[in-house]
Symmetry: C2
Subunit: 106 residues, 2 copies
């Protein structure tokens, strides 16, 4: 099976996640939004399901897909040790901005 990163490497799958971030959607709705064939869409949804990115609720013939946070949290955790690479820079920027006189009309 694929890793979390493999799943996210696919642009269409990232678009699906974007769409599901707004609200749960049926397959047909996703097909329309993506401009991809129904089987193609279902295939991506299968990958997302198998890897825990989404879950499905069935409602008659419709399947409602919705986001699950776990795999994205995993990415967030993976990033953690790398954050020190830029965290200090951000801190410096923040201190700099804090030290500036308030002048909204830039």
């Amino acid at each position: 099976m694929a890793t979390t990163f493999d799943v996210l490497a696919e642009p269409t799958r990232r678009r699906i996640l974007d769409l599901l971030l707004e609200r749960p959607r049926s397959v047909g709705e996703l097909v329309d939004q993506l401009g991809l064939s129904q089987p193609g869409t279902s295939k991506h949804l299968r990958v997302l399901r198998d890897n825990g990115f989404v879950r499905v609720r069935q409602d008659a013939q419709r399947r409602w897909y919705e986001l699950r946070p776990e795999p994205l949290e995993e990415i967030d955790a993976w990033l953690a040790p790398y954050r020190r690479l830029w965290a200090s820079r951000l801190d410096a920027l923040e201190r700099h901005l804090d030290s500036m006189p308030d002048d909204d009309a830039g």
Copy 2:
């Protein structure tokens, strides 16, 4: 060219990033650590370079590879809108823990 996620989808490349997080390394050092052929290693380094994950310093015949933060920051930024999916849960946990009596001997 590949996207940031494509680059990270490759396990060997993630291992390289891990190794470079500790300190800059020469190609030979990476070859040893990865147990991969030299050309294979160079190929991955090329991808990492082309996508801004690493930069190279030359020192005679040796090339020292070191991390660059930008692409990882990009991932961090990509994650931002999704964080609300679990941020509230973490907040709740935090509030819960804060409300507990201090009792280190759990």
